[in-house]
Amino acid sequence: MDLAQVLTDGLRAATGVPAIAYALAVIGLNVHFGYTGLFNIGQIGFLAAGAYGAGISANLWGWPFWAAIVAGVVCAVILGLLLGLPALRLRAEYLAIVTISASEIIRITVRSTSVESVTGGPSGIGRWASSFYRINPIPEGDYGFLGIAIDQRKAWVMLVGWSLVALAVLVTWLLVRSPWGRVLRSIRDDEDAARSLGKNVYVFKVQSLVYGGVLGALAGLLIAIDANYTTPGEYQTVFTFYMYVALILGGIGRILGPVVGAMLFWFLLQASDTLLRQLITDDSLLGGVIEQRDIGSVRLAFVGLGLMLLVIFRPQGLLGGRAPGKAR
C-alpha cells in the first residue's frame, strides 16, 4: 500500500478541472439553495446549456471561440428565465420539479439522433474549443506542484478555471453581503415577511436563479473546453446530487463552502479509488472481494460514508454553514 500515492492522486483530483467545474457550479447552487432557499435540483441542465450553447454556435454556425462562450452564457440566462418566470410564481416544490425535468429534457434532446446534425447526438460535438489552446500563453513544457505533473495545456485550463473560481467567489461575496443579498436571505427565511416590507420577491428569485445558473454554465464550458468535446453523458441528473453533496460537505450558505466542498468531494472520490485499486492488486487484501470494475461504485460508497459521518458529527459542514435540515 502506497499512501503517498493515495494522497497525490486525491490532491490531483481536488485541484483538477472536474473539481474546478464543481466549485463553480456549487457556488451557483449555494446562491440558489444556501442564500435564497431555492431548491434547484437540475443545476446540471445549466452546465449543459452553457456547453451546448457554445458548442453548437461554434460548430454549426462557425462562430469565433469568444462569441461561442458568450452564446453559452446567454443560453444559461435564457434557461434561467424560461424555468424561473413560470415556476418561481408557484410554491417552492414546483421549482424542484421543473429544474430536474428541464435538465433531463435537455440531456435527452441533445442525445437524440433526430437532431444529430445539430448536437452530434450521442457522440456529441468535438473540437470546438481548439482556439482556447491556440491562445495559451504558457510556454510548452512540463509543470508540476506537490508531485502532480501537468503539461502546459492542462496548466492553461487550470489557470483560467481557478481564476474563474476566484472571480465567482469575489462577485458572490460582494452580492451576498450587499442589501441585495439581505433580501435573498429574507426570502429564504420567510418570503411573506419580505413581501410585507415591499420586496418584489419574484424578481429577486429570478435574479438569483439566473445568476447561479450562469455560474453553472461557466462550469459546463470549462468541462467542455478541457475535453475539447461535449457529450450528453456528462449531463446526467445524478451530477446535480454530487454537487449537493459537495455543498453539504463544505457548508451551506458559506461563501467558501462550495470551493472547499468540491475539492473535498473529488479528493475523497479519487483517494478512495486509488486506495481500493491498491488493496485489490498490490496487497490482494480485497482480492476476490471487490473486482476492478466495482471500484467506480464502491468509491461512491466511501463518499457516502464520509457524508454520513459529517452529517452526524458536523451537520453544519466543514466551514460551519447551516445544517441541511434547516436549509429552507
Partner: protein, 282 residues
C-alpha cells in the same frame, strides 16, 4: 378613552355599518372571499378615517384576518374593490401595497429569525440602490444610503427599547419583543397606514402597556392604525373607532363605548341564546 383631533372629527359620524367618514384613507367596496362553500368575507362598504386608531374586532372565525390578507394583497377576493389614499389598489400585489404605504404585521410574528434585529430593520427600508443586482456590486453607490438607514433603524429600535438587541439574531427575541420588532420594522417602510394583526397576542402584561403606548404614539405622529384585537379592554383604551365583524360581514361600527353596548355585537360574541336566560337579563 382617548380623545385625539382625529377622534373629534369622527364625533358627528353616525354609528352604523358602512357609514361614510369625513376624511377616509381606506375605502372598501363589495369585497367577498369564499373558500369552497364558506363565505369568509362579505363586506359591502367600509371606510377607515385618516389619522385615527381603528380597531377591527369580532368573534373567532369572523373573517378579520382574511379581510386583512385581502386588503394587503396576500390573498385575492372573488369580488370587490378598494382604494387607499385615493388610489385603487385592489389589483396590486402584496409588495406593491406595502410600497404605497399600507404596511401590515402578522398574527404569528414573521421576524426573520436567522437575521440580526438590525438587518430585519434595514431590510424594510425602501428605494435602496444596493438592492439592485448590478447596483449591489458597487458599494460606493449605496453606502451612504445604508448608513442613513442604519441611523434611522437604530433610532426606531431605541424607541421600542430593542436597541441593546440590535446585533442579536431576531430568533433569540421573546414573543413580545418580536411584536415590537415587527412594529418597528413596519415603521421603517414609512407607512401611512399601519395594519397590526393582533399586536397583543402572546404578549406579557408588562409589555402590553408599552405596546399600547407605541400604538398611540403612531397616531400622534400623524399615521393611521388599523388593528385586529380580541381583548376588549385594549380596544376600549386606545381606539377612536371600532368596526365589528361577524361571519364575514361588518355588523356594527362606532366609537368603542357605543359598540360594546350594541346588542347586535353582544349577540355576535355570545350568541342569541343568553337572552333567554333570565339570569343574564339586564
Amino acid at each position: 378613552m382617548s380623545a385625539s383631533p382625529a377622534a373629534a372629527a369622527l364625533a358627528g359620524v353616525a354609528p352604523r355599518p358602512g357609514v361614510p367618514k369625513p376624511d377616509p384613507l381606506l375605502v372598501v367596496d363589495g369585497v367577498t372571499r369564499t373558500f369552497g362553500g364558506l363565505t369568509a368575507v362579505d363586506v359591502d362598504h367600509v371606510e377607515v378615517q385618516r389619522g385615527t386608531i381603528t380597531a377591527l374586532i369580532g368573534p373567532n372565525g369572523a373573517g378579520k384576518t382574511t379581510f386583512f390578507n385581502l386588503l394587503t394583497g396576500f390573498d385575492r377576493p372573488q369580488t370587490g374593490t378598494w382604494s387607499f389614499d385615493g388610489e385603487a389598489i385592489h389589483q396590486l400585489r402584496a409588495h406593491e401595497v406595502a410600497r404605497r404605504g399600507m404596511v401590515r404585521t402578522f398574527q404569528l410574528t414573521k421576524v426573520l429569525a436567522d437575521m440580526t434585529v438590525l438587518d430585519n430593520m434595514l431590510l424594510a427600508a425602501q428605494q435602496h440602490p444596493g438592492e439592485r443586482f448590478f447596483g449591489a456590486l458597487l458599494p460606493a453607490r449605496w453606502r451612504s444610503q445604508e448608513q442613513a438607514n442604519e441611523q434611522r433603524a437604530r433610532e426606531l429600535l431605541d424607541k421600542v427599547g430593542l436597541a441593546p438587541k440590535a446585533d442579536d439574531k431576531a430568533g433569540e427575541l421573546s414573543g413580545g419583543q418580536r411584536k415590537l420588532l415587527e412594529m418597528a420594522r413596519a415603521l421603517m417602510v414609512e407607512p401611512k397606514l399601519v395594519m397590526l394583526d393582533e399586536p397583543m397576542a402572546g404578549v406579557n402584561p408588562a409589555l402590553t402597556q408599552s405596546l399600547l403606548g407605541h400604538i398611540t404614539a403612531l397616531r400622534d405622529e400623524g399615521r393611521s392604525v388599523l388593528f385586529v384585537e380580541h381583548d376588549m379592554e385594549v380596544v376600549h383604551s386606545i381606539s377612536d373607532w371600532v368596526i365589528v365583524m361577524a361571519e364575514g360581514r361588518v355588523i356594527a361600527e362606532g366609537p368603542p363605548a357605543h359598540v360594546t353596548a350594541d346588542p347586535t355585537v353582544v349577540d355576535a360574541y355570545l350568541g342569541t341564546a343568553h337572552r333567554i336566560d333570565p339570569e343574564l337579563e339586564p
